[in-house]
């Protein structure tokens, strides 16, 4: 792992510096995680009176369960849709805003603030807009002959949660793209312009490649966001329905464990999620390390 060429020689101090964070991590993360790991091999009732060790029964059951496998698929579709949409829109807006000399700041202020809105509240807002009987968007769609009903139609429901989750993520991506674009030297673009390259060509041959580190970083962050932090959005809009069409993995862990009180299965799902998180983390980390080193 990377560090400084020269370091301080102290032997005890680094441990003292690490202590607070390690203590918090161990007590509030690793210990509960270990408990989750342990209960993923058990079957128990909600109150914890009867506990049976069942080996891998919770896992084998999960992977034989079409509902769970379907939740995997839903998660992949959802995460990709949210990531690509929010990245695409944010990039478009950032490129447009960078062109502006005077109004750039006003635009970015107006685009940035949804970041502050709680996921649960974002969910309530979109519920309001798309409500089949009173929502303004549903009303407009109906005028165009589209019978919007996310309570019955799985596709409508998916579109709704994707929109709500994307809406919250655009601002974050926008900020990063703005900064990335501003750091690209003007001279490069000017040189290309003198060679006769139009704006579109310049974007694809110069700007987009130079932005790719930012894009890759954001891609990972967005996938993680869509997989884990959208819980509040889904909870407040579709609650995973209809017929579990929008039940992503995190929501299922919550629903089975917290609402359904099926602790063993929920714990097994947590463990699988943790494995996915660790996998993603390693991918991201290796990429970051490589870049810093070159």
């Amino acid at each position: 792992m990377q560090g400084k060429r020269t370091v301080f020689p102290n032997k005890v101090l680094p441990y003292l510096l690490l202590l607070p964070q390690l203590a918090v991590t161990i007590v509030f993360f690793l210990w509960p995680a270990a408990q989750a790991f342990w209960s993923s091999f058990q079957r128990e009732d909600a109150f914890g009176f009867k506990t049976t060790f069942v080996w891998f029964a919770n896992y084998t059951k999960l992977f034989a369960d079409p509902v769970y496998l379907n939740s995997f698929r839903t998660t992949v579709i959802f995460s990709l849709a949210v990531s690509l949409l929010s990245l695409g829109i944010a990039l478009l807006l950032a490129v447009a805003a960078t062109r502006m000399l005077r109004s750039s700041r006003i635009y970015s202020t107006l685009i940035v603030w949804p970041y502050a809105v709680a996921p649960a509240i974002a969910g309530i807002l979109w519920w309001f807009l798309f409500n089949p009987s009173i929502g303004i968007i549903a009303y407009v769609l109906r005028r165009f002959g589209i019978d919007w009903n996310h309570l019955v139609d799985p596709n409508d429901a998916m579109i709704l949660v994707v929109i709500a989750a994307t809406w919250k993520q655009i601002s974050y991506n926008f900020l990063f793209f703005m900064a990335g674009l501003q750091s690209i030297p003007h001279s490069l673009e000017e040189a290309a312009a003198i060679d006769g390259a139009g704006p579109t060509k310049r974007f694809w041959t110069i700007i987009f490649p130079l932005l790719s580190p930012t894009t890759f970083y954001l891609m990972v962050i967005n996938v993680v966001y869509a997989m884990f932090d959208t819980f509040g959005v889904i909870h407040a809009t579709t609650e995973g329905g209809p017929a579990r069409a929008t039940e992503i993995l995190v929501y299922k862990v919550y629903f089975d464990g917290f609402v359904g009180l099926n602790l063993g299965s929920s714990a097994a799902q947590s463990v699988i999620l943790m494995a996915i998180v660790i996998g993603l983390t390693v991918v991201q980390f290796r990429w970051v390390e490589r870049r810093v080193q070159y």
Binding site: T6, F8, L22, V27, A96, Y107, I134, S270, F285
Partner: protein
């Protein structure tokens, strides 16, 4: 801008205006909802123009609105949210800047192990590990106090990671010069590293403030004392009405008020935010 193209400028403005409209629209509708009478939206399409009840709804919200739904008044809840948001932000930043300092500027046995232990907590949301975490907090006697609200949430590694990345970009010469001057690690940290990290700290403060402010499930689970209610809990209490319709106009008024502090923080500190985040990440 490299050359002047009026058409492209026009398109860019159009695009941005469209983008802003999409971003603002849901909140605009919430605002509109908060200016109408109690039953104006459940019987028909949500109106698009402000209604006559703006002052009435907001003053009711600030004085009796929430308390008639059985929750404590708004201001104490905002205060609790503030304590929680600031506590989470300050706590996370403090512990992670120290550990990032240890990981980057020292070499010691188990350094990699320590780093990974912190690092894997990066992404798992608290909702997923909520039941075992609750038990831990309960056995430490931290239910029903600000400690229990704040401390478990600072167990995440985002901040450590960002500080580490930033420290790696700090030129080695700075540290070597400090050592030549006879400065110890703590003095170096305090006099040089901390001032350099100002923008990063500001950026993280915003992110973590927003995170702390927006918590719902965790405070709900571990508090039983109404004096510890946070404002998002209060909103949920008004919206979660069994067998009846919530009073959406009042709920939306509360939503607007509750979202105001974090939005203000973001807008006010926007410049620092962008700078702090991107300097470490590029």
């Amino acid at each position: 801008m490299v050359e002047n193209r009026p058409l492209l400028n026009f398109l860019s403005h159009l695009l941005l205006i469209l983008g802003v409209a999409v971003v603002v629209f849901p909140v605009y509708v919430a605002f509109i909802a908060s200016t109408h009478g109690p039953n104006d939206f459940l019987s028909g399409v949500v109106p698009l123009w402000p209604g006559p009840h703006l002052l009435e709804n907001y003053s009711q919200m600030l004085t009796t609105g929430l308390s008639s739904s059985g929750a404590p008044p708004l201001l104490p809840m905002m205060w609790n949210s503030l304590i929680m948001a600031v506590g989470v932000a300050v706590g996370k930043i403090s512990i992670s800047i120290l550990s990032a300092f240890a990981i980057v500027y020292f070499r010691f046995p188990f350094r990699t192990l320590a780093f990974w232990m912190i690092f894997i907590t990066l992404m798992l949301p608290v909702e997923v590990r909520i039941v075992p975490t609750f038990q831990v907090v309960a056995s430490l006697g931290m239910l029903n106090n600000y400690g229990g609200l704040i401390v478990p949430l600072i167990a995440s590694a985002t901040a450590t990671f960002l500080f580490r990345q930033f420290f790696l970009t700090v030129p080695d010469e700075l540290m070597e010069a400090a050592r030549v001057d006879g400065a110890g690690p703590l003095k170096f940290f305090w006099d040089i590293l901390l001032p350099l990290s100002r923008t990063n700290i500001a950026a993280l403060f915003i992110i973590l403030f927003v995170l702390g402010w927006n918590q719902y499930l965790w405070p709900l689970l571990i508090t039983t004392d109404p004096h510890l209610y946070t404002v998002v809990m209060g909103i949920k209490r008004m919206a979660a009405v069994a067998d009846a319709e919530p009073r959406w106009n009042i709920v939306m008024a509360a939503v607007m008020l509750a979202a105001l502090p974090p939005v203000l923080v973001i807008v006010a500190m926007q410049r620092l935010f962008v700078k702090g985040l991107t300097e470490t990440e590029k």
